[in-house]
Amino acid sequence: MSYSVLNTKKFIDVIKYRWLWLGISFIFLLPGIIAMLWSVKTYPTHAPLLVGIDFTGGTIIQYAVQQEVSTSDIGKIRLDLSKNGIDNPVIQVLKPVTAENDNAIKNLISIKTKFSENGQNETIDKVGNVISSDYQGAELVQVTSVGPVLGKQLFVNSMIAVSLALLAIVIYLTVRFHFEFAVVAFLALLHDVLFTAGVFSLLGIFCGVTVDSLFITAILTVLGYSVNNTIVVFDRVRENLKFYSKKATYNEIVNASVNQTLARSINTSLTTLLTLGSLYFLGGVTTKDFVLVMITGVIAGTYSSIFFANTLIALWHELQEKKQKKAAN
């Protein structure tokens, strides 16, 4: 047997087990999709995710405290705030994953309330009184507030950004690759975005995690990353098709290409996850959610570029061949 690239060891067979790979995608996408549908139906905003003040308008006031804050403490804070005229506050406790020294911030109490045009200082004073009466040494560390009109604008802008990004990528792919590659890369990208959004929809329902404009940024980065991964594999398919299209079937070529690029796909994801992981576990509290979006997206992107996109491209080709045969008959 002569040495051939097509005979490289196959760790993964994307053709034989194609329904398994697509099935796994489906199983992992489903809970997120259900969560998003449920959210659209249940939330007053009718959004598929729990949207934060960036898009709805509102004020978030954060205090750093050295003491531990339990769930019953949160209940007490909520009650005290309502007594002081702060209606329906949403209270969360954020913790950095590690607090390596005594000066580092231990717990952040985050209080979300309405945007008030004039009474901003009054609101902050009221909240401050409640928090500092319960937690000695509490320090006001962050106030973020967005007016409702601006919120709507930010939301519209974000949606325009996402749509433009999708469009630009499809155009770029169509120019550089065949149309069918562009379509499949696009589907892989939707797969990753849907998975990531689904995870955060679930996190919104169960942990109160909200999405803001940084979330959109992270999603767009994931989008770029996902295309990036898919392109590398498709680039290999394109190259192998040039040399072997006479000697091997389309399916064999796709399968070989996936396996040739497998080490790269995994290693790149690993290095990216190493940097993202260090940001998540060692970085500041405020960027944690942002990084988590990207970690989720990178994992989804790696899976889709190995299993999802290639399974689809082979399926697409098979269907077309069948069509051609039928037409010939």
Binding site: S2, Y3, V5, Q62, A64, E100, N103, A104, I105, E117, Q120, N121, E139, L140, V141, Q142, V143, T144, S145, V146, G147, L150, A165, A168, I169, Y172, S213, L214, I216, T217, L220, G224, Y225, V227, N228, I231, V232, D235, F243, Y244, A263, R264, N267, T268, L270, T271, T272, L273, L274, T275, L276, S278, L279, L282, G283, G284, T286, T287, F290, M294
Partner: protein, 433 residues
């Protein structure tokens, strides 16, 4: 070979220049890292102001600059965003509450004249035409009883208006309104011609001081509202900066260990390229200059992951070529050549996203997009040119004698040699089969 040596020294010089720039120039840090207030104000239309003009915005900007300066903090910034918004940044502010009060207030001082009925009773007040615009300056003072008062010094026009007003209403009250509410309603004793007046009322020191500061800074030509605010305390800022630095360094070290463990000698070369990459990127950040924010740091750290991606692509490809029996020199070259389209296409997609984010995003998002884009572009240079140069200089030509240097096994290479003579010949000419 000569070209390679020239290239090598060019890289060395570029690295040294980068180090010098990094040592010499400070990097501006964003408000989320040093602490401070970032406030967006929007000019509001009223019954009398139907449309916000650029002149009004210029006036508003000037007035707000005065007010921000009155806060006594350095390195403040007032900048117009779009048609009717102003972005104000105040770093290191000790009392954001004051900023919030200061910026939102219109500081409209008005003298109103009484409306009298037939029996000379006061029915109400109407504008007299004398306002804060006619002021020279305001000062805080005390009356003999020790109460706080505000003394006003009118300009020439204001002085004559004030004289006319006091002449007309001797024995009657006039009202002084500040931001739409009456703060004092003194009864005119006699005509006042000197252009000086005093407002006595029940002021606390803070109230009096605020009114004086606002009057001196000038009224806003149009009312403006705070529509967005982000104030970060210095503790949180320092905490974020410290942790991000730590996370960044830990991330780079983890990636480097991985590269050496998996790719051995080429991995080591990629690490050198990565260090050069970080130096050049930081030098560019300082040259532009890019204000470093939390999101910006995240973008930079993410770009490290992407920078090594190019090297991973190249090395995997080189390994494959070596396995198919090529000489070192050809394997390295074709590893680079064949990986290039992948690297280019995938980086282009990231750059497209960055451009969109930069144009449509808020300022936080812009910072992220800019650092990521700079990172991706520089990584194309360091991961390709620098690594290739170092690889060639290190390995030279000839067959690979120690496959372990590439993390390969002897058996991987041997397999290639068991292929027929013609296969080996073909491989040399670039046909992979």
């Amino acid at each position: 070979m000569k070209n390679k040596i020239i290239m090598f020294w060019a890289i060395v010089i570029l690295t040294i220049i980068s180090i010098v720039i990094i040592r010499v120039k400070p990097i501006p840090l964003g408000l989320d890292l040093v602490g401070g207030s970032r406030i967006v104000l929007e000019a509001q239309t009223t019954d009398t102001i139907a449309k916000i003009t650029q002149d009004m915005m210029d006036g508003l900007k000037a007035a707000l600059e005065n007010r921000v300066n009155a806060l006594g903090v350095s390195e403040t910034m007032v900048q117009q965003m779009g048609e009717k918004r102003l972005l104000i940044e105040i770093p290191n502010i000790s009392d954001p509450k004051l900023a919030r009060e200061f910026l939102g207030e219109t500081a409209q001082l008005e003298f109103k004249k009484p409306i009298l009925d037939e029996t000379n009773n006061v029915r109400g007040y109407e504008p007299s035409g004398l306002s804060g615009d006619d002021l020279n300056k305001a000062e805080i003072g005390t009356d003999p009883a020790g109460r706080w008062l505000i003394s006003l010094d009118f300009n020439a026009k204001g002085a004559s208006k004030f004289a006319a007003l006091t002449r007309e209403f001797i024995g009657k009250p006039i009202a002084i309104y500040f931001n739409g509410s009456s703060i004092s309603e003194p009864v005119v004793q006699q005509e006042i011609t000197g252009g000086k007046a005093q407002i006595t009322g029940e002021f606390s020191l803070e109230e009096a001081k605020k009114i004086v500061d606002l009057l001196n800074a000038g009224a806003l030509p149009v009312p403006a509202k705070i529509i967005e605010e982000n104030t970060v305390g210095p503790t949180l800022g320092a905490d974020s900066l410290h942790k991000s630095k730590f996370a960044g360094i830990a991330g780079i070290i983890a990636v480097m260990i991985f590269m050496i463990a998996w790719y051995r000698v080429p991995g080591f070369i990629a690490n050198i390229a990565l260090i050069i990459y970080s130096l050049i990127v930081f030098a560019i950040f300082k040259m532009v200059p890019v204000t470093l924010t939390l999101a910006g740091i995240a973008g930079f750290i993410l770009s490290i992951g992407m920078a090594v991606d190019a090297n991973i692509l190249i090395f995997e490809r080189t390994k494959e070529e070596l396995k198919s029996g090529r000489t070192l020199f050809t394997a390295i070259n074709s590893g680079f050549d064949r990986a290039f389209t992948s690297i280019f296409d995938s980086n282009m997609s990231t750059i497209i996203i960055c451009v969109i984010l930069y144009y449509l995003g808020s300022s936080i998002v812009k910072g992220f997009a800019l650092t990521l884009a700079i990172g991706v572009i520089i990584s194309m240079f360091t991961a390709i040119t620098v690594t290739k140069n170092l690889m060639h200089l290190m390995f030279g030509t000839g067959q690979l004698k120690h496959p372990g240097m590439f993390g390969l096994k002897e058996s991987d290479i041997n397999e290639a040699y068991t292929a027929s003579e013609t296969q080996r010949e073909k491989a040399k000419f670039g046909v992979l089969d």
